[in-house]
Assembly symmetry: D2
Homo-oligomer: 347 residues x 4
Amino acid sequence: MNIQKLKVAIVGASGFTGSELARLLLSHEDVSIEMITSETHVGKPFSDLHPQFFNRLDIPLVSAEEVGSQQLDVIFLALPHGVSMDFVAEWKNSGAKIIDLSGDFRLSSKEVYEEWYNKKHSYPEGFETAVYGLPELFAEKIKGASLVANPGCYPTASILSMAPLFAKQLVEKNSLVLDAKSGLTGAGIKASATTHFSNVNENFKAYGIAGHRHTIEIEEQLGALSGDQTALQFTPHLLPVDRGILVTAYAKVTQDMNQEKLTNIYRDFYEDKPFVRLRNQVPGIKDVRGSHFCDVFPVWDERTQRVIVISVIDNLLKGAASQAVHNMNLMFGLNESQGLNQVPLKP
Amino acid sequence: MNIQKLKVAIVGASGFTGSELARLLLSHEDVSIEMITSETHVGKPFSDLHPQFFNRLDIPLVSAEEVGSQQLDVIFLALPHGVSMDFVAEWKNSGAKIIDLSGDFRLSSKEVYEEWYNKKHSYPEGFETAVYGLPELFAEKIKGASLVANPGCYPTASILSMAPLFAKQLVEKNSLVLDAKSGLTGAGIKASATTHFSNVNENFKAYGIAGHRHTIEIEEQLGALSGDQTALQFTPHLLPVDRGILVTAYAKVTQDMNQEKLTNIYRDFYEDKPFVRLRNQVPGIKDVRGSHFCDVFPVWDERTQRVIVISVIDNLLKGAASQAVHNMNLMFGLNESQGLNQVPLKP
Amino acid sequence: MNIQKLKVAIVGASGFTGSELARLLLSHEDVSIEMITSETHVGKPFSDLHPQFFNRLDIPLVSAEEVGSQQLDVIFLALPHGVSMDFVAEWKNSGAKIIDLSGDFRLSSKEVYEEWYNKKHSYPEGFETAVYGLPELFAEKIKGASLVANPGCYPTASILSMAPLFAKQLVEKNSLVLDAKSGLTGAGIKASATTHFSNVNENFKAYGIAGHRHTIEIEEQLGALSGDQTALQFTPHLLPVDRGILVTAYAKVTQDMNQEKLTNIYRDFYEDKPFVRLRNQVPGIKDVRGSHFCDVFPVWDERTQRVIVISVIDNLLKGAASQAVHNMNLMFGLNESQGLNQVPLKP
Amino acid sequence: MNIQKLKVAIVGASGFTGSELARLLLSHEDVSIEMITSETHVGKPFSDLHPQFFNRLDIPLVSAEEVGSQQLDVIFLALPHGVSMDFVAEWKNSGAKIIDLSGDFRLSSKEVYEEWYNKKHSYPEGFETAVYGLPELFAEKIKGASLVANPGCYPTASILSMAPLFAKQLVEKNSLVLDAKSGLTGAGIKASATTHFSNVNENFKAYGIAGHRHTIEIEEQLGALSGDQTALQFTPHLLPVDRGILVTAYAKVTQDMNQEKLTNIYRDFYEDKPFVRLRNQVPGIKDVRGSHFCDVFPVWDERTQRVIVISVIDNLLKGAASQAVHNMNLMFGLNESQGLNQVPLKP
């Protein structure tokens, strides 16, 4: 693969996901960034939007119309949900594999999508071919996929926190509570009251209580793992930090449990997964910042007979951009870890 | 009461609670701060420790030994747990009423204390006279008390989030999960790895999973309200902010429920409680910063058949200093709100 | 004055200055808030815009057109520059005194305004009657004023840092450098790339280098103090905090100097100014947060023969709202400190 | 060089500089980390101290005594000043080249060191062989050095901000003012009142006014560049962020100047320096976070006839660890940029 680099396009340059993809792909040995698109900034250097790239990636932005004009190996869609679907439909036969970072193909069907996203889906055929791009669960399927739906940030941390127990059908039905906390970049780059510094700094609040659309994405995946439908409680909160998601998961179990047994279940499940770290002390979001790691820490509370699991990721990386690169590595038979070995940036 | 001001001592000047007490009492019309003690800073002006008081409260710090030498009306103990108990024993017959901000008399008995605090209790008689100083539940008892155990910060926010449902015995046994998040001042003024800026800033983590000592304080109070023992799950997390606690409470209920019914239960319960605000939108910790308010927001999730309640307080105020002043107002027959009407400082 | 409270209107409710004015005036014993205006939120409770006021100040917002309909004593204009001037012209004969928190009448003339604000001035007559509302310099004039131009936040901290030396003509011509740093609220409540959390948090940058419009406001005031025109260097920077301005001022002096002499000059100048604190240790912005104080700390560097002065204020208070209340107190013969004695909120 | 990797020891594992060195060296293709030392944590995995390295660098820490026992190519001293000097003396003939990140050999002589550091120097001979490790100025000397004194963080940003003008003797004698602001990691990992979250967060203050020891380091280097002694004003401030230094430099010049001329002087000087970026817009510290870049932005103010230069670096990288790696690359004839091409982590 070193002889012929993968030709890559990033569609959607203005957001955080687009810039993080560019940062990772720029230092990926097997990749050549052929184009980055932005409809509102055509002609501007990419580094004008993201000055951290000054002198490192100054290529001019082009319109997404240019994507069809060139032979590409991979197209990354770093677009809002509802926008990706049309591009997927347009480029599905272009010869390039597509990794969609939006929510447009993460769910099981048009019907579920339209119920939770409250929006018409224009390309329902995509649900049949799309593979859910969580490498810890679906590596084999991803290897053969031409369209990957990159998981949401909250679902990534949530699913990985509980997958070992669901896979063994150990979770008491409908007992799962996921109390999730995310850094502000999860709200995107758009200026609004929500993203105004003075509303975030020194503040902390919940949002989307009892109805956030990531709920169904988690329910579908954990339900599939256990072979049984599940209804879970998911509450996101906004942290006054740039990056990071921490999920505190609470569940009742269906068998006798103790700490050793619990730890072993997690160790076995994640044994050969290079980016999930089973921690021996409580992890913080800064332990994974700037990296592709998901750190997991399961605790058995004998007193309350409940499992508590902490999981942490960098929402822009394992929750978006580095997960997309991981999927690309799998889809093209590269070393799974290529370009993803950054040690977290701390402090 | 305006003619003769209450003579007050603050024992323990160096911490955040001591300085916040001083700030509130300094502008309380019916109070005169007679002395502030600190064993390690005797002779220094109070404002040397807390420069915000420069030119406003520069009185020299004295040793706690001075407390006995003067006729006082109230003694506030702003000391670590394990230290307060000896002072309470010493000053119980001094003629002054005592408000203890430590954990030494919050629990029901010596036995419970020693189990959860892992420490000998030197003055078990105190448990018999101490009143738990949560005015929303125990105003009448507090009025007659000579020793008040000021509640913990997490317990204040936690109990107020669920009291209306426990008082009506509506909570399914052992179903309660309290996912709590606190600003760093909850960890105190002592320099340590825990309080080092670089470990807190841009970080977020849980601690005390499955064993934090505030658990039993909450269990005892909620259990008493419902008349039935309860085992609850309490998980504290550390927020990268100075002030504020937010509790996200999850519970199953024992009766048919809907949003209107739930809201009414909370409205009725807090109708004449001036410092609990039943909010009509999701509250953030900054909505109460610098104030004595506890904002509460109950949600019924029809899909999961679960109650979710958000409550927020300023941990140094409603969770400590202003609650102590509230208790003092009640103990001395003052207007309950005297000195406590600060609008939150936002942003 | 206690019998008849001052009837007050706040024009411009949506910003930080408007809400801080409301907070201060709500607890001011001699004031009754009669109306708060907002053109875009007419009819909404004030607390909908600023939830910290929930249950404390829920009055419905009205249009500025209502201001003329009622007998008022004071009108506070918490509006952007360029908007205030028309209201001043309209209400100048209404019987109410006007305190304008915008930049519209802070400078010496229409010509200077138009050069630095790059905007036509519609009411140049205002410059003749407006008094510059810095109580430490102009208390007597303010007492007789019907229109006060409340100073800018940077100019307040900057002028107070150097006024004692300029008043004694001790500063070497054109040697003054003011390196200023402000919290984000100085940029206002409007959502933009500038105020997006991720551009501010963990960041720090300069702006308006060599051309910020507060430069001329400072130059005019310091020049007037010394009786000689001065050209100074002013560079503002954006701090990742909500509140606070710190100015580091550097100047060469025209006489022999030493630390004692310098300290005495400042002590004499601020002797009877209750809200300027001459500090004996280096002040931080948190030492004054939430208060009306300006803390000043002058240092003589014998090695470089230069004076360095640090000054800190809360930009929303001494830099805006509390300064406006101070001016109101003076204009109506109230106790200068009425409603302004808050101890800083720290931590 | 790929065949035989450089054998490297990091002496001093517990601080931020030690962990950042490990992070950079771990992904440096030509390096093998042979040992990391810590006297207080011997035997513990390195990742116990710095959990971001969990599963990536878990080697046990050893005593510094082990350093002599093995053939090494490079020894990095990540120690406090006053401690390094003895190790340099001990290992100077060990065959390994030494890169000292402390302040022990940055100045011109024992006498200057003892005056500014107020401490005896035990190995004055080191001043004769030590090369000041600022690659932009001394690349050739560094290539031949066996002992490199890695520059201080403030001096790196300060010197690079003004070097082009000093090298051309364009700065008016004694006119330079350096107003510097640093993130908290500059204060080190030790827990103290200074590093307590609540003293840093939402705060900002100056320190070391008129006497900080980095002053002389900057004066010596800029003086050497111009061939004339200089006395400059240096004032550091503490920013409530983890990483980053921003210097705002003010100077009078000795020749006619304009913006174009100024820009050209900087462009020429930094033309072939890959890690200094001459920016075309005002840089913030987040534009360089996590990278080896120094961004520089010079402005000519025609009105005040003064040059203002902004420079930004990551204090832990270009101000410490990555600069040390850069020096290593030069000392061993490697590609200058090897292991240093990280794009800044933003947001």
